[in-house]
């Protein structure tokens, strides 16, 4: 009984201790802090996403604007990642699968570029 109480207190202390530690940065946050990674994400976005499909401006064309806070298929980094990898059925958004030159890192860098330039979401 006493041993169980001590173990419980210890666990609580550890949990409390963990709550005070900053969470490890995500891969996107890591890339956001790396200008070279953001630049590569931008270059990929410019060359692969922005020709006709996605726009840098709210320009009233068919090109959807991805720097606002409106995500139709999930606004988490992993949601965006999954959407780009798998695509969206019945749309022109064909999944990129494993075709990025530097693998998944390239896609995380694109997301880092988007996040870096994302409008403030109230």
């Amino acid at each position: 009984m006493r041993a169980g109480l001590c173990a419980g207190l210890l666990m609580s202390a550890l949990v409390a201790c963990g709550e005070n530690e900053p969470p490890a940065p995500s891969i996107v946050e890591t890339y956001m802090a790396d200008p070279a990674a953001v630049d590569r994400g931008e270059a990929l976005f410019v060359g692969t996403c922005a020709g006709y499909c996605h726009s840098f401006e709210r320009d009233n064309t068919d090109a959807l604007y991805l720097f606002d806070c409106e995500w139709k298929h999930g606004d988490g980094d992993q949601d965006i990642f999954n959407t780009v990898i798998a695509g969206i059925p019945n749309t022109r958004m064909v999944g990129f699968g494993d075709n990025f030159p530097e693998g998944e890192a390239d896609l995380w860098k694109i997301i880092a570029f988007l996040r870096t330039n994302q409008e403030s979401c109230a």
Binding site: G47, G51, Y52, H54, N60, N90, R92, V94, N99
Partner: protein, 609 residues
Amino acid sequence: MHKYVKKTLYWLIVPLLFGGLITACSDQTTDSVPPDAANSTDPGQAVADAEAAEPEVDAELMARQPTSHWINDRPIGDGDGPVTVEELASGTSNPERWLHYGGDYRNFRHSPVEALNPESIENLQVAWSFPTGTEGQFAMSPIVYDGIMYMATSYNHLMALDAQTGELFWRYDHPQPDDLRLCCGPANRGAAIHGDSIIMGTLDAHLLALDRLTGEILWDVEIEEYSHGFSSTAAPLIVKDMAIIGVGGGEYGVRGFFDAYNVNTGERVWRVYTIPGEGEPGNETWAGDSWQTGGAPTWSVGAFDASTNTVFWTTGNPAPDWNGDDRAGDNLYSDSLLAVDADTGELKWHFQFTPHDVWDYDGNTTIFLADIQFEGQERQALVQANRNGYFYMLDRVTGEYLHATQYVEQLNWATLDENGRPVPNPEAFPQTNPDYRVCPGLSGGMNGAWAGALNPDLGLAFIPVVENCMKFRKGISVYVQGQSFTGGGGIDTDASADTDYGHLSAIDINTGEIRWRYMDEDPLKAGVVSTQGGVVISGNQKGKIFGLDAETGEELWTFNAGGGIRSQPIVYQQNGETYLAVGAGDRSRTSAVPQGGQLFVFRLREGQY
């Protein structure tokens, strides 16, 4: 009595991008019937009322439009019978007909009608009008034959109308998938006619023939799998018993081609790939395997010279558009003119306007087969106001380069050497962070999405021009079949600064000199028609249809059509009366003007011509 058979299908036709737009279209149902159809006394007509249950779809992804097929089985037309090869070769010589997108095999879009002239044009009045029921640019050139007008709309709705009254005879709405591979809107620029068939290419890369009197489908063939990046937006060119049609896909990394199909069966007669395969001459102009995804689409209309049995066709940009790093070389035959044997498709010669293009200067604007005076000699020439800003004159028999002149007001991307080969300005190449404003911009110059006209007596080509310079940005392009493959794009455009503009320019086809310009505050993006009477008619993006004096460019007449003009006007006569047909309706969402196409047909007021 009208006799319609209603066949209804529900399909999902609006292409969407990465999440898509949400549009409610449920009010446009197939319950609406053409005029008089509801009065039919034949109960057997409203058969096949088999409206398929709508499949489950993600409402967030889809905009839905019902599609329909209304077949006619009453006698219509003037009894002219099937269109013959000889009639097709006669072009616009019979003013009651308009048989080709370009008016004739030379693409002159020049009507023999003298009644429509600088004195009479002010007497044009609306005779009838007709809606398309669709959004997107209304870009077509109508066909008129046997008293019937054939009107194709965006999203491939095709209608047969009485050319004098606008009465609807039949209608076919082509069912489309949701994920069309379009770069630039759901355009269709027209159908073609042969025998008793109306032939149309579709956004999902099919080619189909319909009975011109009933609207029934005669055959339907797949040109290529659309989901691999293909589409068809141009009017076919009918040559002998073949329908020749090209494809879009330059922004999707396709390997371009154009095909000839037997008009009676739909069987393919020949295919010309616009990028040579391994081992073929020209393949060495592509680094590595880049030829396999090199673009060179064929999305506009060619021309035909019966005297040499030559079909001329033009090609678009290499892919990816704005990053040529992985496709070192000239990238034949992108941005080129190809002359091929009409019967076999065998290549006779080529001329490349923009080798190793990194600006999206598709070489596919209107090609005119015109005889010109060059250095004191008459030459069988081919002239073209190319999207890259130069007006070219070539010998159409040999392909020899004769001369070129600048026809846009702003051009700095390249000069031309004595052979017509561009010498690019090093500053004009796309950059990661560009700071150089390049002219013309990516739309031109002129653009293959609309057609110029040519008055052979005046020796003038009438060319609608875009003046919209921009910086070109280069990025890293990743190829995935069916995905956009562009490598960059234009930024800091004159349009974004509202300093872009346009003009309709009259170009002397013998010298390339500009005879006059009709200026507009916006780029001009509509086709042109010319008349023997000496007027030129086109329209602007704000919906103004205008008529000009062909010799001077003086504005003689205008009409406010409401929607931006993107169509290709035609002039024709019926029972001695003169008509002008112009489609209005653009896809631009940059203004408050609602989308939606509307055809306006004007008639010269009686007694005024």
